[in-house]
């Protein structure tokens, strides 16, 4: 980092977003790949586009990269309109799903490619290439060919290649998809750390909710070419706006409840098959007509279960219908009359294993902390065939 002084990057000013999409729209033939979409990625942060395949996340990334032109809308990178610039002029770094390393070039040649294209002189190219390989812990592999490297090493080379030109933004297209689980977790941390150190605005495309949750400052959940929700990982996880978000990020118990009445700016709801009880309270919910149905999401880790005889008299009851031991947690399946799908509940294992397992068929009492049950925006709908 000493002998070469890269061009000073424009100071990261908080008011100019690193990336801004304004009403960007794209169709392929008659298929609308992307509905008009707008979002901002604050400079220096990592934003994930999360969704199932075909949700428009890859199209969005390709529009930002310049591989596709949008039908309408604007792409601003660091405040500059880049909508119709060719990829060559956008000064972006990108790591592709399969790394896309040039197979006929050595590691060093791969990393130096962008510098060579920018006509950086040889001495500086060598110095910056070497420095970048040091950063990704591969200095001794400079003369190898990509196919002689492991998946994780190829990943690092791809990262080095994309960052050595000091791009204004980094694009990551499912960068960890091809790695096995342990390596993936390790690389998640490494990429995140590097991204923070450099302070580069980053757009990550992934279908892996765990990856999005662990790596991002901001998650944009997409489905069928639309943004469903955007926010910090905690926000999106804790306050899913609708059924799709709630189910795509983590596991959720989604229950059709009945509105009993409005109180204190929230709603009092009743579980199905729980007539006569006083129900439970959900805060911050707009009033809905009494007797209408409301979708409520409760995370399995928020459900507390105790044997029925230890439970309070007002707690709803359920029967244990299944149990799986998952190392750090017990996973219980619970059945309750009036629910068409069993509920899932996790119980952290704190003591010796085997101690707390509830027998299948046991009756239990259900409870949850106020605030962990979320009202979803969706109108209750019948289970989709899809």
């Amino acid at each position: 980092m000493t002998q070469t002084t890269p061009k000073a990057q424009p100071a990261v000013t908080s008011d100019v977003p690193g990336l801004r999409l304004r009403e960007v729209r794209k169709s392929f033939g008659s298929v609308a790949a992307l509905q008009p979409t707008s979002f901002d990625v604050p400079a220096g942060t990592l934003c994930s586009l999360l969704g199932p395949s075909g949700c428009g996340k890859t199209t969005t990334l390709r529009i930002v990269a310049g591989f596709e032109l949008p039908d309408a809308g604007q792409v601003l990178i660091r405040g500059e309109d880049r909508t119709y610039d060719p990829p060559q002029r956008r000064k972006l770094g990108m790591v592709f799903q399969n790394y896309s390393l040039f197979p006929h070039m050595t590691v060093a040649q791969n990393v130096a490619f962008g510098l060579r294209m920018a006509r950086v002189n040889r001495a500086e190219t060598e110095a910056r290439t070497r420095r970048m390989l040091d950063i990704v812990h591969l200095p001794q592999h400079a003369d190898r060919y990509p196919h002689q490297l492991s998946g994780g090493q190829q990943q690092r080379v791809a990262l080095a290649r994309s960052l050595v030109t000091e791009p204004s933004m980094l694009l990551l297209d499912e960068p960890l998809g091809a790695l096995d689980k342990n390596l993936r977790e390790q690389m998640q941390f490494e990429i995140r750390q590097l991204q923070r150190e450099i302070g580069i605005t980053t757009l990550l495309v992934t279908h892996d909710q765990e990856e999005a949750l662990t790596m991002s400052d901001m998650i944009v959940v997409m489905d069928r070419g639309r943004i469903l929700q955007a926010g910090s990982p905690a926000e999106v996880y804790e306050h899913p706006r609708n059924r799709f978000v709630s189910e795509f990020l983590g596991t959720s118990n989604i229950i059709d409840c009945t509105v009993m009445g409005a109180e204190r700016g929230g709603l009092r709801l009743r579980l199905p098959g729980d007539e006569g009880s006083s129900g439970f309270f959900v805060a911050d919910a707009p009033a809905r007509p009494v007797g209408s149905t409301a979708l409520v999401a409760i995370r399995p880790e928020h459900l507390r279960i105790v044997p029925a005889m230890e439970a309070g008299p007002s707690e709803p009851r359920a029967t244990v219908s299944g149990h799986v031991f998952r190392g750090a947690t017990h996973v219980f399946q619970l059945k309750r009359p009036g629910l068409d799908r069993p509920l899932m509940a996790y119980r952290q294992i704190t003591g010796p294993v085997g101690e707390t397992a509830l027998a299948i068929g046991a009756e239990i009492g259900l409870s949850w902390l106020p605030g962990t049950a979320r009202l979803l925006e969706d109108e209750p709908m019948r289970e989709d065939a899809a």
Binding site: A65, P87, R90, M94, F96, F102, P103, H104, M105, M117
Partner: protein
């Protein structure tokens, strides 16, 4: 353990033996009609009749081939004509292959058919077709004349240019198919990666696409070169003696002069050229980065 290994070894040997039986007819056929004549050919080229007409072991035929300026010229011309045809095939074939793979889309199948269709007609038919087009009062000349582009008919037949045109026409499909097969395997994301790193379209082609498709060019070049080396009818019918290459000379020595030994020696030289080409193919193609 060892017993088990032994039985499994015996079983696999027996399986291998059993598997060989069906190919036996082919092996016998090759032995009788390919390897034996080849050996006979080799021997014949090494025995030159002495003054009394009695065959004596001698490298005389080969000496003559490699020292006599006429024969050296023929050898050189054979290689030169093949090389020229190969280069033209690359120049014509690469863009066609590129278009087929990248832009033809659902027309790809049609293009392959159009490419292969000429190969399904007999070479005599194709060559006579060129005769009709290139003849003194043929289609090309009369068109050029009527357009006023030329004053006198061009002499196109019985000329090296006719040979090259004929060779390229016959051989270009091999080039296109070899190159297209390799181009199809190149991940376009590599090109996108290069463009995002600042490479222009042309630079991307030169730095990424072209080097990665060299295997296809080399395969096509070797196939075309070998086929051109051995081509006979095109030389005979379109060249009309203006381009004397080894196959023509062999034909001459064999049928007209009836010097079988000399013809055999020339055949062997042609064979060595083919073997060298194949060797180059094995050595040059699929070097480093080919794996991914």
């Amino acid at each position: 353990m060892t017993a088990a290994a032994a039985t499994s070894g015996r079983r696999s040997r027996r399986a291998l033996g059993a598997g060989l039986w069906p190919v036996l007819p082919a092996v016998i056929f090759l032995l009788l009609f390919f390897l034996l004549p080849l050996a006979e050919n080799g021997l014949q080229s090494l025995y030159v009749p002495d003054a009394a007409g009695k065959p004596v072991f001698s490298l005389d035929y080969y000496m003559r081939l490699f020292t006599d300026s006429y024969y050296l010229g023929v050898l050189g011309r054979t290689i030169w004509v093949s090389l020229l045809a190969t280069i033209i095939c690359i120049l014509i074939g690469y863009p066609v292959a590129f278009f087929m793979v990248r832009h033809a889309g659902r027309w790809n199948g049609v293009m392959i058919f159009l490419l292969v269709a000429p190969l399904l007609t007999s070479i005599i038919m194709r060559t006579f077709g060129w005769n009709v087009i290139l003849a003194r009062n043929g289609v090309l000349n009369s068109t050029l004349l009527s357009l006023g582009l030329i004053e006198r008919p061009l002499r196109l037949l019985q000329d090296p240019s006719a040979v090259i045109i004929g060779l390229v026409h016959v051989l270009v499909p091999f080039m296109v198919i070899s190159i297209a097969a390799v181009l199809k395997g190149i991940d376009t994301r590599l090109e996108e990666a290069a463009e995002l790193l600042g490479a222009s379209r042309w630079r991307t082609f030169r730095e990424i696409t072209l080097p990665l498709s060299l295997d296809g060019i080399a395969t096509g070049a070797i196939v075309v070169f070998m086929l051109a080396n051995g081509s006979f009818l095109t030389m005979l019918l379109l060249g009309g003696g203006s381009v004397v290459t080894l196959p023509l000379l062999i034909y001459q020595q064999f049928l007209l002069v009836q010097n079988l030994g000399f013809a055999a020696a020339m055949g062997n030289v042609l064979l060595v050229l083919a073997v060298i080409s194949l060797f180059l193919q094995l050595r040059l193609i699929r070097r480093d980065g080919g794996a991914s």
